[in-house]
Assembly symmetry: C3
């Protein structure tokens, strides 16, 4: 349902099921926006007169800001909303909210929700002139984050066909990891590893097309890219990890552990960083880190995706 | 005081006391904005360089959003403010807030307040270059809502002179009902009914020019339009209605009760809907419902009123 | 560090250390923006395509609104952020926030913080394309407020060289007073007085180049300008002043006390006013008051400073 009947990208809900060509189109279009951030005047009129609604049922100032900046650089008008989700309403009030917004002739909803499937549910109900972008839904997917991650990898490594990538941290709860794994696989990465304590690995994780490791040094051995995940302390409550110090000792990214990887390894993190918890400060700020490149690229990639679902020429499915 | 000395509409505070010509002008101008929402580029430069302040002492994301979208489509800059109203300040702090904003050369205040008369009080104190629109004040008035309602009725029924309209629900506390009654009367609707339990009808309600009914089936008999009001549970505290179930049985709009009305009856509601409380879901989503049309029209009507109080040529009083 | 190596004003953090020419340039540029607020279309394209971030670690709707209006009149895109400052993070999380924002190619940060030195700390770490304006940091400085104050004085008194100015109130805790004193001294005001109870005067206050008074009548004797400070009740907790009534009796500005000043004295206040606490209502609204002029001028002065740090031709240091 992310493509329309003529194969055009209509919504951007999840990486799963997208064609390789679509991902490459997004990355190529994002590249044209990259130089853009350094120009004197950073606006293009691609979405002029369009209304973008940041519909964040789950609060996330950081992600919302990146979409707000991206939309404004495309000359859209932006409305920020943080509606309360009534737990009792069986999804009805969410759909009523959405129906009201679309009746106002708004054009693009960027949806964030603590529940998996929210963006998908909304996309099923909107009329054909409204596009939906998933900005994170529960444990399910965070596809724009994954796209900026693969953009950053391609920027530095040029292609995926020889890469070994390790994703480290709370794989079990991470919508980011899930989307990254799909994107890396679709783009032809031969080896994707996940590194975590057993309690933070999904059962049968191999089915996702990854190689699990519980020993971090072995997991990082000869990798080209390390993607650290943010430890969501608020979601774990001490039951899944023994202590922060022990977690850092075993799975925190230090220079020492990083020495296992290739000499030109990239260190990535979706942010915000917990310094000294999942990553040591000197690694986060060190020569291998491309963490701030990810932030820069995030604007360009989101501009690219917004332009595409709003009717850009790119993003067509294979005929 | 809503007109200036040359008969131009200067503020939009209440329907009461407005001339029929003014209402018709607003509706006609709104019509020119309607096609507009479907255009590729939805902006006109009518308020370019103007600053619109959404001054919401009472929070209402929904209403605020409609004004924000309307103002941005007119190319205005929009500032959203939710100042706290100090209960002890005898209105002084409100006026200090307003004086500060007008000193910043802002042009239009959209005022929402839980107290009746707030917009009126502010309008009395602003200099001639500042216009005020009432976005709901206590139990007193919600005139832009009433204008979008009569716009929606005119859109479907073309004229008012043969209509029978029933307003159902908490008439006593409803600023919406009060404004609707004035608008319908000024536009020449021959029969306006109000339907509610006795406890939710104002005393001597006939003075407003309406026919009261406590029996809903009798109240809906042969009407052309049913306007349901939202049950403001938070304002009633169980003392005025016996129970939600009993209320729905007696005054909830069901297909069964709706069968009393004319076959081409319109069902309206200002939103947000309490499904299963004042209206059954199948009626809200059914073929008679124009509830989402109301939302669409709300943008056009608010654009029309904003353009008019900011110096549009229309809206002059009879010479 | 407020100037770059070629003497251009790069950040605006504190009045201290700025050259007289810089202050005069800011005031002259602001004058060109003053007529501007009264024009039909109040926008100039000076910051078109630039992204201004209002980074308010300490909440202040009032100050934020003035910067938002100023930035929008310069055609910038504005992002409002109220990040939480983690007290435990030794400034690191603040810098991570800032690094993320600059990675998004934002151009100007307007920083407000309850801690002295925040804007300075951030300015030390940003790359050369990012400019910082201090919108108030702890007890240290509020330089844009001081600039709008001296602008208002110049507007009415034309020059500083013959003026006697009294600043009255909580000098000890006031970042506003500190910045005003520096600005008045740099612009050549021969006599600046501070008037306060001993408990609200810094030790060795004379070192700032001011004359302290604890008796208000003597302090106001023959002054040309009285600047009242806002009593920050929340910062004092009853220990520094005996009671509100006693404070008003001794240091509240009344017509009676004001009679000590010159007949054409100006009464100023940074707002918001505590009527009946530090100033009587009839004085605040009286013929000597230029309090609302200060608000109007605040927009023009902030536009001037924003334009200047973003690369305006003005603001160069003496060669």
């Amino acid at each position: 349902m992310q493509y329309d009947s003529s194969g055009r990208l209509r919504h951007f809900l999840t990486i799963e099921g997208l064609e390789r060509e679509t991902l490459v189109h997004i990355l190529d279009t994002a590249e044209t926006f990259i130089s853009f951030g350094e120009r004197e005047i950073k606006k293009v009129p691609i979405l002029r007169g369009k209304t973008v609604v940041n519909l964040f049922f789950e609060n996330s100032t950081r992600t919302r800001t990146t979409f707000e900046i991206a939309a404004k650089r495309l000359s859209a008008d932006v409305i920020n909303l943080n509606p309360t989700r009534l737990s009792t309403s069986k999804g009805e009030s969410v759909l009523d909210t959405v129906r009201n917004l679309e009746a106002m002739h708004t054009d693009l909803f960027v949806v964030r929700d603590a529940h998996s499937g929210a963006a998908y549910l909304i996309a099923q109900h909107v009329p054909s002139h409204v596009a939906i972008i998933n900005a994170g839904d529960g444990r399910h997917a965070h596809p724009t984050q994954a796209m900026l991650d693969v953009f950053t990898i391609r920027q530095h490594k040029h292609e995926f066909k020889n890469l070994r990538v390790a994703i480290v941290g709370d794989i079990l709860h991470s919508r980011v990891a899930r989307s990254q794994i799909h994107a890396l696989n679709i783009l032809g990465t031969p080896e994707v590893r996940v590194v975590a304590p057993k309690t933070l690995l999904p059962t049968e994780v191999e089915r996702l097309g990854v190689h699990p490791y519980t020993d971090m040094r072995r997991g990082l051995k000869d990798v080209d890219v390390v993607i650290m995940l943010r430890l969501q302390l608020e979601r774990m409550q001490g039951t899944l990890i023994a202590s922060e110090q022990e977690y850092f000792n075993l799975y925190g990214l230090t220079e020492d552990k990083l020495a296992q990887a290739k000499p030109d390894v990239l260190v990535m993190h979706p942010g915000p960083i917990n310094r000294g918890l999942e990553i040591a400060s000197d690694v986060a700020d060190g020569p291998h880190s491309v963490i701030l490149d990810q932030v820069t690229n995030g604007i360009a990639v989101r501009m690219s995706i917004m332009a595409m679902v709003m009717g850009g020429q790119a993003g067509r499915k294979k005929a």
